[in-house]
Amino acid sequence: MTPFHFETIESAARLVAFGLTPGLKPAREPAYAQLIERYRTDPTMRHCTDAVARGLHLAVLGFTPQGVVLGANEDGPFVHKLADYRRTTLSVEDRMCHGLVQLAIAAWCFPAAQDLAASDDSAGLRFSTNKVVAYVVRLSEELQRRSQHDPELGSPELREAWRAVLQRPETRATPDGRRAASTLHGMVEYALEVLEKGSLVRRLSDDDGGTWQALAAYRIHVRELAAHDAFTLVQSVRPARDAAAQE
């Protein structure tokens, strides 16, 4: 067991704190840049930072030129839960759509495994809110064309997710000209705004319902934390569906 010097522990905690500060860049905060370099070159600092992050239910996922990329564990205080994410009461379809929107944005930005493997300083693609909405709708329509089932079969909760997507309005204006939060457009836009606050995407303009660019940190986040788990989560529900279909 290596004894840690107090200074190292404090530095490790500061590096984690820098990583949790939205918008902070190493080029503008020399102490941040020094701590990143120290993490890269000093094994003691690295072990200590990883331990501090672990204790806080966080994980150091990687680095980009714009800073450290942290991920939150599901049971920790830093995790984004649906209850914090949307403060209004949500129906089953709303909850389903919010989860699906997370998948859709990531899948639009990094559709295949090799898209996750690009270098850690490479910015991702430029895309618009409208494109992501059209993407989910197009995939749902493809599934609709292939479907042989009676659309009214079973309760709403047992019907496939794509049916709920197609029933939901893509966009709808509120009386003051804004877009309603419960539409697909409103949900995608809100999710992107939260990603922007966490420095995972950046907003480029208001064109085409809002245009954005995925940042390298988003790729690292999806690659190191989300992709495998999302795959496992989604696959874990499949047998239940297949069993239900057989009954």
């Binding site: 909760e157 047992l158 992709a227 999302a230 529900v237």
Partner: protein, 476 residues
């Protein structure tokens, strides 16, 4: 040159074909322009793309890089020369399209894939070349700059089928010969190509080290990477030695040069010096690479990783999710959110700050309008949320057409409802009356006498005291 001379036609054809297909993306960008919405008649997108690569490589050599907007600024006048009739916005649109095409934005920045037939002895096999031309790289200050890939530099420099190391040696040999023979103008041009090769080599080394560093389990360090590093080290040491010799020859010529050659020789010296510095810096990165690897290996051994490969998010995850029952997917929402969203630092209560804020004197309002948070806006029943100008006009008519006698509000509402007046209009009428009741200075209020009847008003939309209304007859 390390390239083995083809000893049969099959090898020769395959090699030339590979050279040809690498230009495929540029030809395709031009070929599909007719399918675009924009009018691109008379615009040569290939020329724009090549100029874009040229400008990007030039800035990479200066160590800075060029942003997307800066590159579009440079391309815009060229578009204007091709099509003077286009408006500034249209020129900008074409310039942006060329840059986005080089990034392969249409295909979500995937690699360009070019298929070709290769001759393997007597058999024909179909193979694929995957390449990128431009990529965007993030800098520490938050800016994002464009970088040309090694393949793009290769296309631009025009030596497609040679490894960059060999091309560097070849350019340097030509350069040495030209300096020796006093062909300074030619040497300046060769030096530009030599410089481009040094940038390409730098990109190659950086990309290789990045891949090796990111996932140590995917590379064979002992057999592959160490051999690569040893080769790179020897190559860079050679380059530095030769660069140094070249610089000495240029300096010698500069000492004896007349005014006509001095400017060109100085440019030549600056270019070779830049290459020398680049090779020296790269050498400095190669030396500690082995130590870096050992550290990464140490770190990655403990990193939780479920498998070496990643799933296809579109095919394996999103499509599967869309086919799940809505209820089952809803149950996963928290789990998905937890994984895809960034950490959210919970706000912490600091008691003394809170007390200070509570006890602070009230600040003067700056009268700026605060926009409500969009995220929580929900559309409620649209028929009840707002009133049109027509609604207001109808209500004004109702108010002015009131007979000049005392009338109980509940009676009036019951009559209007029986006449089929919409609930929305009744609601507006009620609100208008309340406004009159509470604001005696309203010009309309002066035309009515409104008092409480003391009885309770029972209505689906309102509750409270029933009002007695009297429209005052204007005195002549």
């Amino acid at each position: 040159m390390s390239e083995v001379a083809p000893d049969n036609w099959q090898d020769a054809v395959t090699r030339r074909l590979r050279t040809l297909v690498r230009l495929g993306p540029l030809h395709r960008i031009e070929a599909v322009k007719v399918h675009r919405d924009d009018d691109l008649e008379g615009i040569d997108l290939r020329a724009l793309c090549l100029r874009a690569l040229d400008l990007t490589i030039e800035r990479m050599g200066l160590g800075t890089g060029m942003t997307h907007d800066e590159l579009c600024d440079e391309l815009e006048p060229i578009v204007g020369r091709m099509r003077p009739d286009l408006s500034p916005a249209e020129r900008r649109g074409v310039a942006e399209a060329a840059v986005l095409d080089l990034l392969n934005e249409r295909d979500r920045r995937r690699e360009f894939r070019e298929r070709y037939a290769a001759f393997d002895g007597e058999r024909v096999v179909h193979r694929e070349i995957c390449l990128r031309l431009l990529r965007e790289s993030e800098l520490g200050d938050g800016t994002i700059v464009l970088k040309a890939t090694t393949e793009a530099i290769n296309i631009y420099a025009g030596m497609l089928e040679y490894p960059v190391e060999d091309a560097q040696i070849a350019e340097e040999a030509v350069l040495r010969s030209q300096i020796h023979r006093g062909l300074i103008a030619d040497a300046v041009k060769t030096a530009q190509r030599y410089r481009m090769r040094s940038i390409e080599y730098e990109q190659k080394i950086q990309a290789y080290l990045e891949t090796a560093r990111r996932d140590v389990t995917q590379v064979d360090w002992i057999h592959e990477v160490l051999a690569f590093l040893a080769g790179a080290r020897a190559h860079l040491e050679d380059r530095q030695r030769h660069d140094h010799d070249l610089l000495r020859s240029i300096e010698d010529r500069l000492d004896a040069a007349g005014d006509s050659d001095a400017g060109a020789l100085a440019r030549l010296r600056d270019t070779v010096e830049e290459c020398y510095r680049r090779h020296m810096q790269l050498h400095g990165r190669i030396i500690p690479a082995n130590q870096d690897y050992l550290r990464e290996q140490d770190r990655q051994v403990f990193r939780p990783r479920l498998a070496a490969s990643y799933p296809d998010l579109e095919a394996d995850v999103l499509r599967t999710a869309l086919e799940l029952p809505a209820g089952a997917l809803a149950a996963l929402a928290d789990g998905l959110l937890a994984r895809f969203q960034p950490p959210r630092p919970p706000p912490q209560l600091r008691l003394c700050t809170l007390i200070d804020k509570l006890l602070a004197p009230r600040r003067a309002s700056d009268d700026t309008e605060v926009a409500p948070e969009l995220a929580d806006l929900e559309t409620v029943d649209a028929t009840r949320t707002y009133f049109t100008a027509d609604d207001h006009a109808v209500v004004e008519d109702l108010l002015t057409s009131l007979p000049p006698q005392e009338l109980l509000l509940s009676t009036w509402f019951a009559e209007l409802r029986a006449d089929g007046v919409e609930a929305r209009l009744l609601r507006l009428l009620g609100l208008r009356l309340l406004a009159l009741f509470g604001n005696p200075d309203d010009p309309l209020a002066r035309r009515y006498s409104i008092r409480s009847s003391g009885r309770q008003f029972i209505d689906p939309d309102f509750s409270g005291d029933d009002l007695v209304l009297l429209r005052k007859v204007p005195t002549p």
